[in-house]
């Protein structure tokens, strides 16, 4: 474990905690940015440069901005009048803590702890492109179709209805 990993992990976890537990929704959305950026830096640290930059483009550039827009469009920027958590909040926290204890116990007791350090893989962009155009061409087409359908669907769902259809 290196200093870099510790710093990035602290940043990521702190951002995630802020995003989940701040009361003001705009603060929550802004806390997402260091989380996503920290994850991108962790991908870079793991020699997956392409995924790291895709993470920055898609998450920091698009998803975080989209969430800020959604919060502003739904007037969520005003602090909530009532409690920010649901009535069954303790159950949710309990489930999450139990899930973490089970996962951490499994990881720490598994054979993963004794895996030897391997040589660094070098995934060039050219190799990723070759793979996408050869072995993974069908998933690539399917995800293109899915993204198109999701875009059209999102526009149709969020589109303003005709005033006369509304009846109110």
């Amino acid at each position: 474990m290196t200093i870099g990993f510790l710093v990035l992990a602290t940043l990521t976890v702190a951002g995630a905690l802020g995003a989940m537990f701040f009361r003001n929704l705009v603060h929550c959305a802004l806390c997402l940015v260091p989380t996503f950026a920290g994850l991108a830096a962790l991908f870079l640290q793991l020699n997956a440069e392409f995924v790291g930059f895709v993470q920055i483009l898609v998450y920091v550039g698009a998803v975080a901005i989209l969430i800020v827009f959604a919060i502003l469009l739904t007037r969520g920027s005003e602090p909530p009048a009532s409690a920010a958590v649901r009535h069954s909040a303790w159950w949710g926290l309990w489930v999450a803590v139990v899930a973490f204890v089970i996962m951490a116990g499994t990881i720490l007791s598994s054979l993963i702890m004794s895996v030897a350090e391997l040589a660094k893989p070098v995934p060039t962009i050219r190799r990723i492109g070759d793979q996408l155009m050869q072995d993974y061409v069908l998933p690539l087409e399917v995800i293109g179709l899915l993204l198109t359908a999701a875009l059209i669907g999102a526009v149709v769902i969020a589109m303003q209805e005709e005033p006369k259809k509304n009846g109110s």
Binding site: V13, A70, A96, I107
Partner: protein
């Protein structure tokens, strides 16, 4: 020297559980969606970490799986936020405790 794979897996488990706690406890639908995004990101970190510390890392499977997973997550976020905006337009609320008209 042992690989630091378990550190990445523990971090990913922690992120997943923070996202799970947020998705289960918060009342605002947008923050629930953010929690789901955090859980998806934890999964991506697992893909990349296992790919990096696996003997067959020449095959690029983990990288490509993470790329496709990011694409799916982007589509999910767009549709989810559109649904939340549509619900807000009809009910003037994003509070999950109030959106329960389909409850049996």
């Amino acid at each position: 020297m042992n690989s630091p794979l378990h550190c990445y897996l523990l971090l990913s488990a922690l992120l997943f559980c923070i996202g799970l706690a947020g998705a289960l406890t918060r009342r605002n639908a947008i923050i629930v969606l953010v929690g789901i995004e955090l859980m998806l990101n934890a999964g991506n970190l697992n893909f990349i970490a296992f790919w990096r510390f696996h003997a067959g890392s020449e095959s690029l499977q983990g990288v490509l799986f993470a790329l496709f997973s990011i694409g799916i997550a982007a589509a999910e976020a767009a549709v989810g936020l559109a649904l939340i905006i549509a619900i807000y337009r009809h009910r003037h609320s994003t509070n999950l405790d109030e959106i329960d008209s389909m409850k049996g």
